[in-house]
């Protein structure tokens, strides 16, 4: 009897991490696009109605514009973004050897500005930074997400996963409570998605502008009445990294439109 109980307990232990995590299997992963209504989908699908494309156009102009005391444009090093930036955003956040940490696409743009253009960093969520990131990420539209392959990223993915599973705020909710366990249900009138970051930076109709994944994460945090991490903080980058590893295989949609 005790013997059987031990076996039952061992089986339970062996399967428990998967059960507790409630992680979404690869073939059940769905972009937020799948949760939207037909009107919002149509808005995203047509490049002449997708307001995110306005930012992509601005980004294209900035790509070719010389700036900073080095008087260099992005294009002077990277050439035509259509070929040089294809697939790049699909593996961000990526490991930065110099700092020994993962960096987001926004941070990479600013590192390039500091190191190669000798220009001042663009503030988070500023129009120019969003436009450049949107332009770069747009070159990866349709490319499957492959972030988090670098073995050096492992501890940071773990940190992001822990943050995703950790309850926080006055409502005492973790990301996983909605986005792993309760997607397809509704929170007030809005569908709960899986939280797959496929289309960032994306145009949110609620924001009336383009915004980064960090902005989205911060609004979820204020939603559960938690103190949001600062833009560019290691915690937000780790969360972003975990989310991208969780969305592995889904195609990029930048610039997506979301309600």
């Amino acid at each position: 009897m005790i013997f059987w109980r031990a076996i039952a307990a061992a089986t339970l232990f062996a399967t428990a991490p998967a059960l507790l995590a409630g992680e979404i299997p690869p073939d059940a992963r769905r972009s937020g696009y799948a949760f939207m209504g037909p009107d919002t989908r149509a808005m995203q699908d047509d490049d002449t109605t997708n307001p995110g494309m306005l930012f992509v156009l601005d980004g294209e102009a900035l790509w070719g514009k010389k700036t900073g005391s080095a008087n260099k444009a992005c294009a002077d090093c990277h050439g035509d973004a259509r070929s040089s930036m294809k697939g790049v955003a699909a593996h961000y956040p990526a490991f930065d050897k110099a700092s020994g940490r993962p960096v987001t696409l926004d941070q990479r743009v600013n590192l390039c500005r500091a190191n190669h253009q000798q220009a001042t960093p663009l503030p988070y969520e500023s129009r120019d930074l969003l436009a450049l990131s949107a332009f770069v990420a747009h070159q990866s539209r349709g490319v499957a997400i492959t972030a988090a392959d670098d073995p050096e990223l492992k501890p940071f993915i773990e940190q992001g996963r822990d943050l995703f599973m950790q309850r926080e705020g006055q409502l005492n909710l973790a990301c996983t409570n909605c986005h792993d366990d309760n997607f397809d249900k509704r929170l007030a009138g809005a569908p709960i998605t899986q939280g797959q970051p496929t289309g960032y930076p994306l145009y949110r109709l609620e924001w009336q502008t383009l915004g980064s994944l960090e902005r989205r994460l911060r609004s979820c945090m204020s939603g559960v009445r938690a103190q949001a991490y600062d833009y560019g903080s290691p915690e937000l980058v780790a969360l972003e990294l975990y989310l991208m590893s969780r969305a592995r295989g889904l195609p990029m949609e930048t610039p997506a439109v979301r309600p």
């Binding site: 002449t48 109605t49 494309m53 156009l57 102009a61 009336q208 502008t209």
Partner: protein, 105 residues
């Protein structure tokens, strides 16, 4: 400012064609306040016009309740090859133009 214009490149004479325009603008209502309590001044597009070979075919007045990056679509009859000119005018001397050409067979 960036604008996205969708006019069919070709049309048959007499066809009803759809023209779609999307332009960058924050459309600040003038009703919002900063955290410090100051009113954020109104900054909106107030008027849009479309000319087809110089003749005005569509005009719209815009108001504070219109969303950022206004999208306007309308129809006209393809009469002759030529050029559509678009103009957005707004607060603080804002003015932006765009154009698109069409071949009518």
């Amino acid at each position: 400012m960036a604008a996205l214009i969708n006019v069919p490149a070709k049309a048959k004479r007499g066809d009803v064609i759809e023209i779609r325009t999307l332009t960058s603008h924050i459309m600040e209502t003038g009703f919002r306040h900063t955290a410090a309590g100051d009113v954020v001044p109104r900054d909106i597009i107030t008027s849009f016009t479309c000319r087809y070979n110089g003749a005005e075919i569509f005009r719209a007045d815009l108001f504070p309740a219109i969303a950022a990056n206004p999208y306007l679509s309308f129809f006209t009859v393809a009469k002759e090859s030529g050029k559509f000119e678009f103009e957005w005018i707004g607060d603080n001397g804002y003015s932006s133009t765009a154009s698109a050409s069409i071949t009518v067979e």
